[in-house]
Structures are given as C-alpha cells and as structure tokens.
C-alpha cells in the first residue's frame, strides 16, 4: 500500500510540470521528458563534482530554466496557437535532438547520481518498517508540489488567466491579459518542475539517455486518467496508477497462484503487470471519456 502511494507521488512529481504545460496551458510538450533528463544530468554532474546535493539541485534548476527560456523563445512560443499534432511533432523533434545532445556531452553510459549524504540511512516510519529517508523527501516534495499547484491553478488569478488564455487566447487578450508573457512564465515554471523532478529522481533511478521518454508515458497516462487540466484529477490518478501498478506486480501473482497452476501464473502474471497501467487507463476512458475529473465541460 505505502509503496503504491509512494510510487504514485513520484509519478505525480513527474507529471506535475506536464499538468501545467499540457493540462492547463494545453500545449502538448513531449520535450518535458527531455527537460526532466536535463535536470537529472546536471544535478548528477554538479553533485558529483561539488559534493553538494543542494548545489546540484540549484544548478539543475538554473541550467534547465536557461534551456527552457531559449526553447520557449525560439520554438515553443510559436506552437501555442497550433494544433496538438503539430506540438507533438515539433516537441518529438526536440526529444531527438536533446537525446543526441546529451549523448554527445555525457556519452551513452548512465551517470552516477547519489542521494545526499544526510539521507542515506533508512528511517523507521513505523516500528519494524524502515523506509528510505530519501524517498520520504521525495514524497514530501510531491505532496508540497501538489498542494502548491492546486492552489496556483484553482485559486489564484494567474491560474484563471492561464486557463482563459489556453481556451480562447484572442478573447483573453481582449480582456487585457498578456497571454504571451503569462504562457512563457508558466512554461518556465513547468520546466522548473521538470528539472526539480529530474534532480530528485536521479539518485533513485538511472540517469541515462532516454530516461525522459520512459517517464513521459506514465506521466501522460496519469494526466489523461485524471482528466486533462485538473490538478486534483492528476493527483488522484497518480495515486491510483501507483497503486494499480504496484498491486499488478505484487498481489496479482499471489492471487493468481491461488487459482491457476504455477506454469500458467508465470505466463499470465507478468502480462498483467505490464498491462495494469494501460488497462486502467482504457477502462477509465471507456466509462469516462474525458477522464475522472473532466475540467473542460
């Protein structure tokens, strides 16, 4: 259970930036994964050479923000008005470029990213149940980000302006909103969240080329299940996916073992594990075609 929730919060952290840029701003930015990767690489590099985790985190934020700034000014800005397909294609192009660029800079081999020395030892969350302390940090950050995003999007004027700009840019401008500037800001915030997620996730996963695409699909799945544009939906969906995925791996084989011969179990169980997340999404969409919490009527 706890593991499922933990994984869910990790997923939310990954999906958070995407929720902003894709969910709220309605820009399908596949390159989000590349920004995530960038964050992880820079953080790992700086952490290793400076010995300070915080320095790595800050450097990741700074570098990714710079890259995002350039990206926004050169490309993404011109994509706001385009359809999703164009956005998918252009940002897919950016992925291809980013992956090769990272490979040129750091080589194809994964990079070392270690957790901060203070957080190496596991903590006993419950008597007899140690939990990795670094993971706790990630969970905490995930919760904070969720809360922050929810407030920003739903309870601030900025959130309203972004949503207005996303659904009807021209009308928002007629109401005096500097849509371009607001969007740039939100894109940068999304990039910062990607960098944060990358820097934080690095120490528990492999920092390597292609890590961005790996998380992109689960993150999109989370968004879609939750209902695009709904922070609450994304949060609940992340937990749901985390739980279902974990159960699919841990409990389904046990359950199956009770009813099927072992040979069949070893064939079927892994299939279920692989399918779980997608089956969940297909089921949700079959009954609620706009996700659990459709934000746009």
């Amino acid at each position: 259970m706890l593991n499922g929730i933990g994984y869910g919060l990790m997923l939310f952290l990954l999906a958070a930036g995407l929720t902003l840029v894709f969910g709220i701003m309605d820009v399908m930015n596949l390159a989000h994964g590349s920004l995530f990767m960038g964050g992880a690489y820079v953080a790992a590099q700086v952490h290793t050479s400076s010995g300070s985790f915080l320095a790595g985190l800050l450097a990741a934020l700074a570098v990714v923000l710079l890259v995002a700034l350039a990206l926004e000014a050169l490309l993404v800005r011109h994509l706001y008005g385009r359809d999703h397909l164009a956005q998918v294609l252009a940002t897919f192009g950016i992925i291809l470029v980013a992956d090769d660029a990272v490979k040129m800079i750091w080589g194809p081999a994964p990079l070392m990213a270690s957790s901060p020395t203070a957080l190496v030892e596991p903590i006993e969350v419950l008597p007899g149940l140690p939990y990795p302390s670094y993971r706790l940090l990630i969970l905490g950050v995930g919760l904070l980000v969720a809360l922050g995003l929810y407030l920003l999007v739903n309870h601030t004027r900025v959130g309203m302006l972004v949503r207005a700009g996303a659904s009807n840019r021209a009308m928002a401008e007629f109401m005096g909103v500097r849509v371009g500037r607001v969007f740039s800001g939100v894109f940068l915030l999304g990039a910062a969240l990607a960098a944060l997620a990358g820097a934080l996730m690095g120490p528990i996963t492999a920092v390597q080329v292609g890590m961005g695409e790996e998380i992109l699909i689960p993150a999109l799945v989370v968004l879609v299940i939750g209902g695009i544009g709904s922070v609450r939906g994304a949060f609940i969906a992340a937990l749901l996916v985390g739980l279902v995925d974990t159960c699919g791996r841990a409990f389904v084989p046990m359950a199956l073992r009770a009813v099927l011969p072992p040979a069949a179990v070893s064939d079927v169980a892994p299939l279920v594990a692989g399918l779980a997340m997608y089956a969940l999404m297909a089921t949700v969409l079959a009954f609620k075609p706009a996700g659990l919490f459709p934000a746009r009527g």
Binding site: R157, A170, E173, V179, G297
Partner: protein, 256 residues
C-alpha cells in the same frame, strides 16, 4: 467632461480579412476609410444592415484585425497607424485593452474552463477605487441570475446567461470605453430592458460607450450620436433627433 478632446479617434481606417498585411489591398477588404471619434462620456452607435462592417470596425479598433490604412488614437496613445505601402505600427490587443477598452464581443466568447465567478474576478480592475466602480457585488446585483450560476463553467450556461456573463465580464474591468457588439442578442425581453436601463445608468455616470445593436428605437433614446455604415463606409451621421427625422436613412440603410 471635456468636449474638445476625443477619447477615441479613428481616421480613415481601412481593414479587412485575409489580405496581405500592409498592402491595403486584398480580396476581402471590408472597411473603406471610416472616420469615427468618441468623446469621453459620449454614447455612440454604429448602425447598418448585416454585413456592412460594424463588427469589423470594432475588431479593428480593439486590435483584433490589422489596420491596413488610417490611424487610431485612444486617449493620448496612438493605438495603430498605417499608410499604404508605408510603415505600420500597432499595439497588441491586450495592450489596447489595458488602456481601458473592454468589449462584449459578438458570440459572447465565454471561457469554457472558468467558472462564472472566475470570469468576474480574473480580469477585474482592482486598482480602481472610485465609489461607483463595478465589483462582484454590484455585478451580481445587476444580473442575479449569474449569482445563482456562479459555480457553473462558462459553457454550462444558457445562451442568454452567457450573454449576461459577457457583459458583466466587460464591466468588471471598469473600462474607459465600453464596446458592446449585439450585447442584447438572445436575451429575454425583460432582461433586455434591464440592459437598457443599466446602460442608461452607466451613461449618467459618465461612461463612454460604443454600441452596436438591432433595437434602434432603444438606441435612439440612449445614444448621443449615430453612425450608419454601408459597405464599409460611413454614409450618415448625426444625433438621435436627426435620425428620427430622416426616415430615408432608415429605408435605405437600415432595412426598416
């Protein structure tokens, strides 16, 4: 109320759809040199049959369409200016809006992903500290229906409710110039009456208004001055009394 200085001043504006920017030429030029000036506190109407360029004029004024030729000034600021083949300069629509121009556009254009209340908060001018400034309470008092529907999304409203919302949204910015393009379309007669009363009040408070509507009788009571458009040109202008008197204008240009 200064009569000398016009709040909005448009000279010889030409504009249209799809034509190459700056060329002034093109397959679908719609406006052929419109002169229009509105003094502060004045209520002016644009009249004319369907498709004569009323909405196009408004879209050009708010920067939604590029100006091919002419000059538009709002207050002290030159909003747009263009000469044939010469340089063009123009403010972006949002900049124009921030000068104090608010519009109730054709087709309402409510935001589907904002609630009713958010429509009224998001763009509100909170700096304005005039006593008479529009705030949430006053807007709800004007349209009690909106209070009842305040948690509905913009697309979960009836047509008329959307129209009310569009008007309230424009008022929430406390604009210097309020532009209404067919703002009573789709409203029940009683509500229409409310709107006319409200505009009357606004006028009395000194609000400057540019209005397009098909209920000419009401406009005659309300407005100071009228411009009649025919195929992108101003073919008549004058005050209400003059328009009342000149039935030939009604027949030739207003289809009545």
């Amino acid at each position: 109320m200064s009569l000398a200085q016009a709040l909005l001043d448009a000279e010889g504006i030409e504009a249209g759809y799809g034509a190459a920017v700056g060329s002034g030429e093109g397959a679908s030029q719609v406006l052929f040199g419109i002169d229009l000036s509105i003094r502060a506190g004045e209520v002016v109407t644009l009249l004319g049959r369907n498709g004569m360029g009323k909405s196009t004029t408004i879209k050009t004024l708010i920067g939604a369409l590029p100006l091919h030729r002419g000059r538009i000034r709002f207050g002290e600021t030159t909003v747009a200016a263009a000469q044939a083949g010469g340089p063009r300069q123009a403010l972006r629509p949002d900049a124009i809006a921030r000068l104090g121009v608010a519009i109730v556009p054709e087709g309402r254009q409510c935001f589907p992903n904002l609630t009713v209340e958010e429509h009224l908060i998001a763009f509100a001018d909170t700096r304005n500290d005039q006593r008479e400034a529009w705030d949430l309470g006053k807007l709800y008092a004007l349209f009690p229906r909106l209070r009842e529907r305040k948690h509905h999304m913009g697309n979960q409203l009836s047509g008329g409710e959307q129209q009310m919302l569009a008007i309230a949204r424009a008022l929430s910015t406390n604009p210097r110039l309020l532009i209404l393009d067919e703002a009573t379309e789709g409203l029940a007669p009683v509500i229409r009456e409310e709107i006319w009363k409200c505009l009357r009040q606004l006028k009395d408070l000194g609000q400057t208004i540019l209005v397009v509507d098909k209920y000419i009788e009401r406009l005659l009571d309300l407005a100071d001055r009228h411009l009649v458009l025919e195929r992108g040109r101003v073919v008549w202008q004058g005050d209400s009394a003059a328009l009342r008197a000149d039935r030939s204008v009604w027949q030739a240009y207003l289809g009545v």
